[in-house]
């Protein structure tokens, strides 16, 4: 009952106010101290200094979260009856901006600290061993939805292509120009998947066709869709939202 209402609500939300609000806000409004400076009756002149301080604390929060992360702790799985349908669409653009990726032309590029960097076709990827998980996707905005994804554990793939799993980061580049990155410990977590299927079907376009990285131990924006390149690096790769101020680790 509550789930249904929530589902309706975020569908409505995405489509109306919030979507437009975020589009406006993503042109960075800064950290406007609005209410606080009003209350203090002063102008906060040093917004850059405040922002720098807050970002330092945010990267301290990254460190704390990496320590808190237990690579063996599994995310709770849900019964199929908990799956939310249709699964909410969420991106930094509207549904008309969903990239049309051609299955025939698709190839997954590999780069960075990886031994075998030959590109992978979709047919080759589909032939990899797959597992299924029914887990909760939690958005940074606060809503959440249970979904079901099938695919290859990223760990299996990274080991298969000879990635340097002692490196610090795994980064992803997407067909919609989205990009993000995760820590190696999370990349090797048994439930971090290269998802090719959702809810029994080929991954639908709004949900990331043909490849989504499903990271159930992180917030939704760390689950890139339409992934076209994977790279391994020791240099902090950042991310689309992370570069604007979202916390990088974003662990659950």
């Amino acid at each position: 009952m509550i789930k249904l209402k929530m589902g309706e609500r975020f569908a409505a939300l995405r489509n109306r106010e919030i979507a437009s609000l975020e589009r406006r806000l993503f042109l960075r409004q800064g950290l406007s101290m609005g209410a606080l400076s009003l209350l203090a009756g002063c102008n906060v002149t040093d917004e850059v200094g405040v922002e720098n301080a807050l970002r330092k604390i945010s990267s301290w929060n990254d460190t704390v979260q990496a320590k808190l992360f237990d690579p063996k702790r599994l995310v709770e799985e849900y019964p199929a009856s908990a799956i939310v349908r249709p699964f909410p669409f969420n991106a930094f653009y509207d549904e008309d901006g969903i990239p049309a990726v051609s299955a025939a032309d698709f190839s997954l590029e590999l780069a960075g600290l990886i031994r075998e960097r030959k590109p992978w076709s979709l047919a080759e990827l589909y032939a990899l061993p797959q597992v299924t998980q029914t887990t909760r996707h939690i958005c940074v905005e606060g809503w959440s939805a249970v979904g079901q994804w099938s695919g290859t554990p990223l760990r299996h793939f990274l080991e298969r292509v000879g990635a340097d799993t002692s490196a610090r980061y795994v980064g992803f580049k997407c067909a919609d120009d989205y990009y993000t990155s995760i820590d190696m410990a999370t990349a090797l977590h048994p439930q971090t998947l290269m998802a090719f299927r959702q809810d029994g079907d080929v991954l639908p376009a709004p949900n990331g066709f043909p490849l989504k990285i499903r990271v159930p131990t992180k917030l939704g924006f760390k689950n890139p869709k339409h992934v076209r390149a994977i790279f391994v690096t020791n240099e902090y790769p950042g991310g689309y939202w992370e570069d604007q101020g979202y916390n990088w680790f974003a662990g659950l």
Binding site: I2, K3, M6, R9, F10, L13, I18, E22, L25, F26, R28, Q29, G30, L31, S32, M33, G34, A35, L36, L39, E51, A53, L54, R55, I57, S58, N61, L68, F69, D70, R73, V75, E76, R136, I138, C139, V140, E141, G142, W143, S144, P216, T217, W241, Q244, G245, Y246, N247, G251, L252
Partner: protein, 213 residues
């Protein structure tokens, strides 16, 4: 009456110690930041069928609000632990917040409404104050615990279960905010009605020399 050697007035008795004053004002600051940034975060995906006034929020956009929220949580938590540690270990709670009985609280609330509640000795909290302060301490504790649950629902899964799931924990976090804010509003109103208490919480004592007892 002045001190013969220094020529200064004798110090009036301490009403609030240094640690209580320091932690009180840091807590008020942390609470304000968490409250206003929290409202912005709430607005990104409201649990209930209403939004909070955007002009009153902190952070400019969701990412900014989250930066504030997850910075101020450290101030609230560390400062809160110092306050609680001091309160329990140094006898502050036992001396000032205990005992408190429902009958005494009720009697004091009625006395307050009829304007008969005495405030002559600021170093002793009346029963209504004790109840309010205990409620605020519990409210902030609940806020911190439910906040931890929705911040780390995987690593702290047992805590989420305690709250009955992720969605319920969000509701608990919001309701704890609303209740704590309501008690705080009454608290601040009382301070406005008896402004001497504010001075005592700021400088620790009242500047006027009290007649020797």
């Amino acid at each position: 009456m002045s001190d013969a050697r220094t020529g200064r007035l004798p110090a009036s008795p301490t009403i609030h110690g240094r640690i209580v004053r320091l932690t009180h004002w840091l807590n008020a600051l942390a609470f304000l930041i968490l409250l206003l940034s929290g409202w912005k975060i709430y607005n990104a995906s409201p649990v209930f069928a209403f939004r909070l006034p955007s002009e009153l929020t902190l952070g400019g956009w969701l990412g900014g609000a989250l930066l504030w929220h997850f910075a101020a949580m450290w101030l609230l938590a560390l400062n809160g632990l110092l306050y609680l540690g001091h309160g329990f270990l140094c006898g502050h709670f036992r001396r000032k917040l205990w005992p408190v009985s429902p009958a005494a609280v009720w009697a004091d609330i009625r006395a307050a409404f009829s304007g008969r509640l005495a405030h002559d000795d600021l170093s002793v909290y009346n029963a209504a104050q004790r109840a309010a302060y205990i409620a605020l301490i519990l409210g902030i504790t609940l806020l911190a615990l439910s906040g931890l649950a929705i911040w780390k629902p995987v690593q702290l899964a047992p805590l989420v279960q305690l709250f009955g799931g992720f969605d319920t924990a969000r509701v608990v976090h919001f309701v704890a905010m609303a209740l704590t804010l309501a008690v705080t509003a009454v608290h601040v109103l009382m301070v406005v009605l008896v402004p001497r208490t504010l001075l005592a919480m700021l400088i620790g004592r009242l500047p006027t020399v009290r007649s020797p007892q």
